[in-house]
């Protein structure tokens, strides 16, 4: 069986003369939590809309669960769950009614719906609000019902477009936990975000896109190693002295900046060099108060990839 849950080849889509997605090759394997990162307007939503059949690609191929997915493909949609960015549902329905109507579209039997809908409402934190009209839901609650409807059919692939947009910090953490929960059931999650911290916390794979071009795709570790050059160690000592600076400058794997009693070492290596640094400072008669690694994470990788200077 094909393990590619999503596979695009040279997927391209333009709006007039503006190329929104440019020869995109994206592969998502089964059981991944795959983050789809990019600045606003990078082409994330356009790509996702092509995946779920809302937009027709101009060229290139698009396979989901091994099937050609371009165009109106109800048989694929049966097996995936999708939450649009800032989803809008018919306001006159209650949360329960909405899930029931959608459940009927998935041909879920009545008894199953009756059992599954309260479970889902509970899972997304809408317990007790299922009989309220969606028109009365807050933005965050609409987001939650959006996640619930994406999980209704127990999909093999869940596609979430900016799931935590419009949520408060507590809601964001809850969404993060929900995503982790989904994957425990063996499902694949593909979600777009411009929040790096969020992606870093829950994803094992990332794809980074900007101006419609794929900049990077791979595991989180790979992307971190790409950002190797910007890995830094911040060192705070009790009392700065020339001998400490000398000792640090003598280290072959780093360059040093000083600021009062803080030294910033720009590491050229990917190894753990904290012990060597500690010995060098001690030998020079210094006392280390704090040693902290900065950068080298997704943020730096992202910034260097999209061509902006990391702070």
């Amino acid at each position: 069986m094909d393990t590619h849950v999503i596979q695009t080849e040279n997927l391209t889509k333009s709006y007039g003369t503006r190329i929104a997605v440019n020869h995109l090759n994206l592969t998502v394997e089964a059981k991944q939590i795959h983050g789809f990162l990019g600045p606003n307007g990078a082409g994330k939503t356009t790509t996702i809309k092509m995946l779920v059949g809302l937009l027709r690609p101009d060229s290139g191929s698009l396979k989901i669960l091994g099937m050609n997915a371009a165009g109106d493909k109800p048989r694929i949609r049966e097996r995936i769950g999708y939450m649009p960015e800032l989803p809008k549902f018919p306001k006159h329905l209650t949360g329960e009614e909405l899930l029931d109507v959608y459940g009927r579209m998935y041909n879920i039997p009545k008894e199953t719906r009756r059992k599954r809908i309260p479970e889902l409402l509970k899972m997304v934190g809408l317990e007790g609000r299922g009989r309220d009209r969606i028109g009365k839901y807050s933005k965050g609650m609409q987001q939650r019902i959006g996640i619930a409807q994406a999980l209704l059919n127990d999909p093999e692939l869940v596609i979430l477009d900016e799931p935590s947009i419009g949520l408060d910090p507590v809601g964001m953490v809850e969404v993060r936990d929900m995503v982790k929960e989904i994957v425990k059931g063996g499902q694949t999650v593909f979600f777009s975000s411009h929040l790096l911290a969020e992606v870093q916390q829950i994803c094992d794979h990332v794809s980074i896109i900007n101006n419609g071009n794929m900049l990077f795709t791979g595991t989180l570790d790979e992307v971190a190693s790409k950002a190797g050059p910007s890995r830094r160690l911040v060192l705070e000592v009790q009392k700065a002295s020339d001998s400490i600076l000398h000792a640090l400058k003598a280290l072959s794997f780093a360059t040093v900046n000083t600021n009062d009693n803080t030294y910033t070492l720009h590491l050229k290596t990917k190894d753990d060099v904290r012990a060597e640094i500690s010995r060098a400072v001690s030998a020079a008669g210094g006392v280390i108060l704090r040693m902290q690694e900065e950068g080298g994470g997704l943020e730096d990788a992202f910034m260097s990839l999209v061509g902006k200077e990391a702070e």
Binding site: Y15, V52, G53, L54, P74, R75, R77, E85, F89, P90
Partner: protein, 261 residues
Amino acid sequence: MTLAPNPDAVSGFFNTFSGIFIFLIAVATTMNTISGEFETGSITPLLTKPVSKNTVFLGKIVASFLTLIAIYAFLTVYVIVGSVVIEGSQNNLLLAPLGLFGLTLATMVWASMVILLGTLSKSSLVAALGSFGVFIGVTIVGTILSSVYGQTSVLFYAPGGGANGSTGSCETFPRSGTNFATGTDNLGYLLIQLVLNPSAVLNFCGVRFGPGGREGEIFTASSDTVATVALRALAVAIVYLAALLVVSWYAFRRSQIVESA
């Protein structure tokens, strides 16, 4: 006690209830049918469920049709009860369902125009105003064409009120006989007449101006039997309905959800 007895009040209702009335009912029931889904953004979750676009479209059309039938069934029952109570026992009550069918079909012609404009523009405002423009255009152009130039045959194939037919002669004044509109809008009444007086002859009058444009005379532009007129209107309505719906269906199938609502 009844007021002035009028045994034809019910069939008269089908003759009066056409034109702007059915147009407005068509707009009210369908201006949001597909465009509303686009406007509110609820089209996005809908189209990503495992239902084909064909099913969604068909569902919208069937729902519009059933809504119209329900509105008119209520209205017909109301008119029948009211007529019997106020104007005494009624003739041809058995034909009321036929009138109801014709009325619904006539309204569906306008409804499909509204749906088409809504699907193309994704805006219910454009659907309502655009179809109103078509309605006004057809009505004004139709009136000019039929009364001034006697080109009634053009109106036989246009949607809307159509040409005015008379069982009396065009040349005598005041005109004898009964007059009624013969366009698709009046399909309810036309189908009733088709059963009651299929072989009656309808005259379509025009105005002809003399040399210099000074003096005009009314003349018979064409004549047809009620059967021909009614069946033609039925066929024209079905053709318009089918054509408008096919174009809307195609537009809906081709539509892409670009904007994030």
